[in-house]
């Protein structure tokens, strides 16, 4: 009788492990921390190698009340949208968030132009309100971010936050801050694997080691470039598992932002009667986007709607069963 060949892949690389948050013992004030990475095989392929750490969901909160969020999001959070600290509390206490992503959208010169000092106060208020670890994200305005994020980094010194995002042509200021204040960093590349690798090299050359960097290869929602996101992530992960240490970094995806930007998630029942109930449509869009990206090896999914968060966490738990 012939024996079938073992078709399992053998991988030589492992994704770096990275911890967000520092407890009192490590010089911070967090009551819990999150560790990601460690995968030594494609996601959930336990027969080929371990995925020791489950992907995590971070709930997105803002420093100002969003004025263009879809109604289901406004309805589910209610008045706390006006207070970042209360919003953070609600995410943790009511929706079980283990990680938060604070977007400093209100610091953008065109959308509030909050000062660096004001932004730092918001960071402090959120850190005080909850014990979970924090991702701090700027306003995607390079010059303003270079003023705001160093102040926020300082305000959160020792808390081992994940701060972003740096780009190929704008990284030195924030890398220096993260080095000084003990944080980890997000490197943004516009769906371009070559630039993703380049940023990792540039940041690590400044002295922030590769195991303190998370890659953000930018995210496309279902119907809006999801396939590109997925294939870029997969290619990077295959290179990493094949031994490319510069690519062996965890990946963060901005799922909520992208899913809730689509017309399918936002259109009212009146505008699109054939698309079904608008209260659930956006949630499904967010879940579908997140679930697909999990398969490409995403390590952090930043999401918005609590029902979508719960559904994706359930999926992760089911996928992690060995």
């Amino acid at each position: 009788m012939s024996v079938m060949d073992d078709a399992r892949e053998k991988w030589t690389g492992t994704i770096n492990e990275l911890t967000i948050g520092a407890t009192k013992a490590d010089g911070g004030t967090r009551t819990s921390v999150i560790t990601i990475g460690g995968a030594a095989a494609l996601p959930f392929m336990n027969f080929e190698g371990p995925t020791p750490r489950a992907p995590v969901v971070a709930m997105e909160i803002w420093d100002r009340e969003p004025d263009d969020w879809a109604q289901p999001l406004v309805d589910v959070f209610g008045p706390v949208l006006k207070s970042p600290a209360d919003w953070a509390k609600k995410c943790v206490e009511e929706f079980g968030a283990e990680l938060l992503c604070l977007r400093l959208a209100g610091t953008h010169p065109d959308f509030g132009d909050a000062s660096p000092a004001q932004a730092a106060e918001v960071v402090k208020s959120v850190l005080k309100a909850v014990g979970v670890p924090l991702i701090i994200w700027g306003s995607d305005h390079d010059e303003k971010d270079n003023e705001v994020l160093p102040r926020c980094s300082q305000a959160a010194a020792g808390e081992r936050c994940l701060i972003g995002a740096v780009k190929e042509d704008n990284y030195k200021t924030l890398v220096a801050s993260c080095l000084a204040d003990g944080h980890t960093i997000i490197g943004l590349s516009p769906i371009d694997i070559n630039i993703a690798k380049q940023i990792n090299i540039l940041v690590s050359e400044m002295g922030l080691p590769l195991n303190r960097i998370v890659m953000y290869p930018t995210t496309g929602a279902l119907g809006y470039g999801l396939e590109y996101s997925q294939s870029i992530q997969e290619r990077g992960r295959l290179a990493a598992l094949g031994g490319d240490k510069i690519m062996s970094l965890p990946i963060i995806c901005m799922v909520g932002q992208e899913a809730w930007r689509t017309k399918e998630a936002r259109a009212s029942l009146q505008e699109a009667p054939a698309w079904g109930d608008e209260a659930t449509r956006g949630i499904y869009w967010e879940v579908a986007t997140a679930s697909s990206l999990l398969q490409a090896g995403s390590d952090i999914l930043v999401m918005r709607h609590p029902a979508a968060v719960a559904a994706v966490k359930k999926t992760i738990n089911e996928l992690m069963v060995k």
């Binding site: 070559n194 690798k197 090299i201 490319d244 240490k245 510069i246 690519m247």
Partner: protein, 266 residues
């Protein structure tokens, strides 16, 4: 590419002198330099300046001295079974070893394969047998097949076997490089997973002018043909840059603007 640094060799003046003076410093320094420049393994060869009777002891000293600075794979470079054992014994106490090399001579093959098994070492098999250096691709591949069969016989996995088609100097056999490229392609088809293919690159340009250029041009072609290991001088920056670029051009590595630096950061 798996680069086996060739510089810890008694044939080079600095190492030859260090061996005679029992001075560990130049050996350690050469090991460290090669690693910084991108070597994945280090070849260790006692050379010919010490009398034969002393070579086992010199191999032991040379390996142990190298081991003081790295636990990287060490390729013990000798045709002698006795010296090979001494070298592997010293190398495998901390880290892994590689046999450089066995020929396809039936008796030699069995003895060296057993040694590889004993020390859990990788092994290089040269395309040489009772009839001398195989001169055609067919003859090289036939010996390659025998090397693989001998490895399987004692239970050595194919991915620990490195087939070497044997490099002849360009200035005395100008058709040899073409035959080597064809052999590399065919070696890769011998099994699944494929065996590794290695060459001793510097032999190619032995005695020629433009040595560096000849080495660079051929290495790039050989990488395209499927070569995945090479014994050469990692301190030759232009050679290393050409090799890394060949791998990037062939999409074996993800490009980035700093890809040369990225390779060396590994």
């Amino acid at each position: 590419m798996f680069v086996i640094g060739e510089r810890i060799n008694g044939m080079f003046t600095s190492i030859g002198d260090a061996i005679l003076a029992k001075d560990p410093q130049p050996v350690r320094a050469m090991a460290e330099q090669q690693i910084v420049c991108g070597a994945n393994a280090l070849d260790v060869n006692v050379g010919t300046r010490v009398p034969k009777a002393e070579r086992p002891a010199v191999m032991k000293w040379l390996v142990e001295t190298t081991r003081e600075v790295t636990d990287m794979c060490l390729a013990i470079d000798t045709p002698s079974l006795d010296i090979m054992r001494v070298g592997l014994d010293a190398a495998c106490r901390k880290g892994t070893g590689m046999i450089n090399s066995t020929t396809g001579h039936a008796e030699k093959l069995v003895a060296f394969m057993n040694l590889a098994k004993e020390f859990n070492a990788s092994i290089i098999g040269l395309a040489i047998d009772e009839n001398g250096v195989a001169s055609t691709a067919d003859a090289k591949v036939e010996i390659g097949m025998r090397v693989l069969a001998a490895a399987m016989e004692v239970g050595i996995a194919t991915d620990r076997v490195y087939l070497d088609p044997i490099t002849l100097p360009l200035n005395c056999a100008q058709d040899a490089p073409g035959i080597m490229l064809e052999s590399i392609r065919q070696f890769k088809l011998l099994s699944d997973p494929a065996p590794h293919v290695v060459i001793g690159l510097s032999n190619l340009s032995q005695g020629a002018t433009e040595r560096g250029l000849i080495n660079r041009a051929f290495l790039v072609m050989a990488v395209q043909a499927g070569l995945d290991a090479s014994i050469h001088d990692p301190l030759d920056e232009e050679l290393m840059n050409a090799m890394i670029t060949a791998e990037v051009v062939l999409n074996k590595m993800i490009y980035s603007d700093s890809y040369l630096k990225a390779y060396r950061q590994r």
